[in-house]
């Protein structure tokens, strides 16, 4: 009784938090950065950034990979300290030495890279460091309920009791976002919040961002998806190579303008032209792939010279399907490559057979963050650098220099650790790493997650070039536009099965969305006949 009562009181509290009409008036300056600069060693990563962040305003920060966006955000929210310059919060100069101080001052950051404790549950992570208590006892029930509600608001209905370890990447991102929305903050900073989200969740998130604005909170918003920026931003600040190019009123810029401001030169078309459809040889044929718990009896074929897309909502099982195929998860599938049957039990065997898989979770599964760039690059293809007894470091450095050139990895020194690269550049390094194994079938899970628009074009061109060389490429992506622009054919998954296929003219957002969400009504669609 008592318990129920208190919990309700708490609910009201939470509601009040969100609906409170703060005394802060729209337009007052919440945070001002004054000549913020950041140096790592002799390298200047950010110089002289001065911006105003106002209440009731969505302020977007855009810039190429490595431009310094995340660094700026970390400075504002106390994760790192500036080398020069400082912050003014509510008119007072302040120095935050910990993120917690920034949070106490009402500033919270939703990280680009996911920062959750994998061994704890969703609810525990959400309330970490600010558990609700009743008489000194942590109130798990209330926390679980509020966690469910908050997550549901974001369109995420995972159980708050799940261990974060078992939660899909997109859901983890939503948990991070929910964490920032839980409390009474004045300024919420989103660093590429939508990079791992699919259509629906993105819409919900944008909605929430607009509601924050309506409540006179300040929002800093970073995204490489310029359409979002255009829809949301009241102001846009452009960074390039750590310098501020300028702050512009949001509506005044077209996406093309933004892109060119970021890049500093004119951009060509985003997507390379598709090669014309012709009869192709089957390259990778997968029959009855099953991954217990996630994927149920999936069959498909990827052809030589084809870019095959996989669409679906979060939890559709695309990642699991391919992890199952390349032997990273228990499951079974009949796999044929160029007509020869393969028996793949581990990633090694997949790589040796010529199937490369690039993970969507670069931080936890893709790169050794504490390790130098070269060893990261060559980790899957060590054999190539080990002609006799030992590894040739010189060849490795050469390969790194090549990769830096070819994939335009923006690093200021080749002796950084992978963790010191900006998010987008990590992604490029990962792509280089997998292509170093020289696969004939390349499976890329979320190829452009966190990559800026100019580099996206590069990567697309690159993928197109790969298939032009006679490889097959499978692209799993949550960005429908990307799939439509890039792929020759798209398979849509839903709840662990292939729910349909689109190609040519049929490749439209509405068709894909329909297949991704609705049950195919005339039996299960499969590509079988057309393959």
């Amino acid at each position: 009784m008592n318990q129920a009562h208190t919990a309700t009181a708490h609910d009201l509290d939470m509601e009040r938090t969100l609906q409170r009409d703060d005394s802060v008036k729209a337009g007052t300056c919440l945070v001002r950065t004054e000549n913020l600069s950041k140096q790592y060693g002799s390298v200047t990563v950010l110089s002289n950034i001065s911006i105003d962040i106002n209440a009731g305003e969505i302020h977007a920060i855009i810039g190429e990979n490595g431009a310094g966006k995340s660094t700026l955000m970390r400075l504002i929210s106390g994760y790192i300290n500036p080398s020069v310059g400082g912050l003014v919060v509510d008119g007072q100069p302040v120095t935050f030495t910990t993120p917690h101080q920034a949070q106490d001052a009402g500033i919270v950051l939703v990280h680009q890279e996911i920062l959750l404790a994998e061994g704890l549950t969703v609810a525990e992570n959400l309330f970490l460091g600010r558990e609700l208590t009743r008489n000194g006892i942590v109130d798990d029930r209330a926390m679980r309920r509020i966690a469910s509600e908050k997550l549901a608001e974001l369109g995420c209905n995972i159980s708050p009791n799940m261990l974060v370890r078992d939660v899909a990447l997109a859901d983890r991102q939503l948990v991070q976002i929910a964490r920032a929305l839980l409390d009474d903050y004045k300024l919420v900073i989103f660093d590429e919040p939508t990079a791992v989200l699919t259509g629906d969740e993105v819409e919900r998130l944008l909605d929430i961002v607009l509601r924050l604005k309506a409540r006179n909170m300040g929002v800093l918003y970073i995204s490489h998806r310029l359409d979002e920026v255009q829809r949301l931003a009241d102001k846009v600040t452009v960074l390039r190579d750590g310098k501020m190019i300028g702050t512009y009123p949001g509506r005044s810029l077209s996406q093309m303008d933004m892109a060119e401001l970021m890049v500093g030169r004119e951009l060509s078309a985003l997507y390379p032209p598709k090669t014309e459809a012709r009869a192709r040889d089957a390259m990778l044929r997968v029959t009855s792939a099953t991954v217990p718990g996630y994927v149920d009896d999936v069959s498909f074929t990827a052809h030589k010279g084809e870019i095959l897309g996989f669409a679906g909502m979060i939890g559709a099982g695309r990642t699991e399907l391919f992890e199952g195929i390349v032997g990273l998860r228990p499951g079974h599938a009949t796999v044929e490559l160029n007509g020869a049957p393969l028996n793949i039990r581990s990633q090694r065997e997949a790589i040796d057979a010529g199937i490369g898989y690039l993970t969507e979770d670069r931080k936890a599964k893709g790169l050794l963050l504490q390790e130098r760039l070269a060893p990261n690059l060559t980790l899957s293809a060590l054999g190539r650098f080990n002609p006799g007894l030992y590894l040739r470091k010189r060849r490795e450095s050469a390969a790194l220099e090549d990769a830096v050139d070819q994939y335009d990895i923006r690093v200021r020194s080749l002796r950084l650790n992978a963790g010191q690269l900006s998010g987008g550049n990590q992604q490029k390094l990962l792509l280089a790493k997998i292509l170093l194994t020289n696969p004939s079938v390349v499976i890329i899970d979320e190829p452009t997650r966190g990559i800026d628009i100019a580099n996206k074009a590069q990567i697309y061109t690159f993928i197109r070039k790969l298939v032009g060389e006679g490889k097959a490429c499978i692209v799993i992506s949550s960005e429908m536009q990307e799939l439509i622009g890039l792929c020759d054919r798209i398979l849509v998954m839903r709840q662990g099965r292939i729910n349909g296929e689109v190609f040519g003219e049929q490749m439209t957002e509405s068709n894909i969305a329909l297949l991704a969400t609705a049950e195919a009504d005339s039996g299960r669609a499969s590509e079988g006949g057309r393959a």
Binding site: Y79, T133, I137, R497
Partner: protein
């Protein structure tokens, strides 16, 4: 074919299902009891079981503390020598006070034991957290220090408790309440309080968070230094409680008291299901782990199969098998 099955749902709703992972140590315990009975029916006699469980109380109490330390991402190799050191201090203090205070020196000595335990834990905690030294090395260092101190205090011999106090102190180990030996009750109480702290308080959450992911914890405003230091202090207090129960059993502290307890303690914690790399701690699993270890030793004494020389081998094998049972019960 119209109904799409929902295979992905499987992972989800484990809210109320029985948690097999947590049950592991208890299953291993059960298996051991059955084997024990088959080997020698006396094994399950009430006297034997009560003896064994009473004995396991020391390790259990210390291991409960170790669960905090390990859960928070630390490790403590010094517990065995710390127990000897605290026992020594306590006995010396009681002996000193006995002439003036009589049997009141016993509770006073217990207080001193607790203070000493907390102080030792604090030293460990500060070296590990403030000194930023790998816990393995830091506590290996203090292990040597505590061991040397007890050797010094005892001049390499023994520190026996005053005869006048013996009888009065005896019940703390040999007494029973409602037929249950006191050490069992004390260790259950310690475990109950510990599981309250670990599962129901903010501190417990901080502990698990510090062990699960230091960065995340730090960013959430949790002070790793404070959290981990407190864990070591709790460990120290637990060692002190164990020492308090220990004194009446053997009536003396010697330089060999508590040798290798640290390994037993850590084994109990790990058998109990807490991962050595930190994260969620399993208090009751730890207690089960301590009982398992003592049962294995008991089984060795009661069974006549094994050559004296091979006892350690069989114990090793059983521990590995117990861990495998746990693995497969997951």
């Amino acid at each position: 074919m119209s109904v799409v099955s929902q295979p992905a749902r499987l992972g989800r709703e484990r809210d109320f299902s029985f948690n097999w992972a947590d049950a592991g140590p208890f299953l291993a315990l059960l298996a051991l009891l059955v084997i024990g009975f088959l080997v020698n029916p006396d094994f399950l006699s009430p006297t034997n079981l009560s003896n064994v469980i009473t004995r396991s109380a020391f390790i259990a109490i210390i291991a409960v503390g170790a669960t905090f330390v390990i859960s928070s991402g630390g490790l403590d190799l010094s517990v065995g020598s710390m127990a000897a050191f605290i026992t020594g201090i306590t006995i010396m203090f009681m002996n000193m006070m006995a002439p003036s205070m009589g049997t009141w020196s016993i509770p006073a000595g217990m207080g001193i034991a607790l203070l000493a335990g907390i102080a030792c834990g604090l030293v460990n905690g500060i070296i590990v957290t403030v000194g930023k030294i790998e816990p393995f090395i830091a506590t290996l260092g203090t292990m040597g220090i505590f061991r040397a101190l007890i050797t010094y205090m005892s001049d390499g011999g023994t520190i026996p408790i005053d005869r006048s106090l013996r009888e009065a102190y005896r019940p703390v180990y040999f007494g029973t309440v409602a037929g249950i030996p006191l050490p069992i009750i004390i260790s259950l109480a310690v475990a109950a309080i510990a599981s309250f702290v670990l599962y129901k308080t903010k501190y417990g959450r901080k502990c698990a968070a510090a062990g699960a992911n230091e960065d995340v914890a730090r960013y959430s405003g949790i002070s790793i230094v404070r959290t981990r230091t407190i864990a070591y202090v709790i460990q120290g207090a637990c060692v002190a409680i164990a020492a308090i129960c220990y004194v009446p059993r053997l009536g003396a502290a010697t330089p060999t008291t508590g040798v290798l307890w640290e390994l037993q303690v850590i084994t109990a914690v790990v058998i109990g299901g807490t991962a050595l790399r930190g994260g969620k701690g399993h208090i009751w699993g730890t207690v089960a782990g301590a009982v398992i270890l003592e049962l294995i030793a008991n089984l060795m004494v009661l069974s006549d199969f094994v050559s004296e020389y091979l006892v350690a081998a069989v114990q090793g094998v059983i521990i590995i098998i117990a861990m495998l049972i746990q693995r497969f019960s997951k």
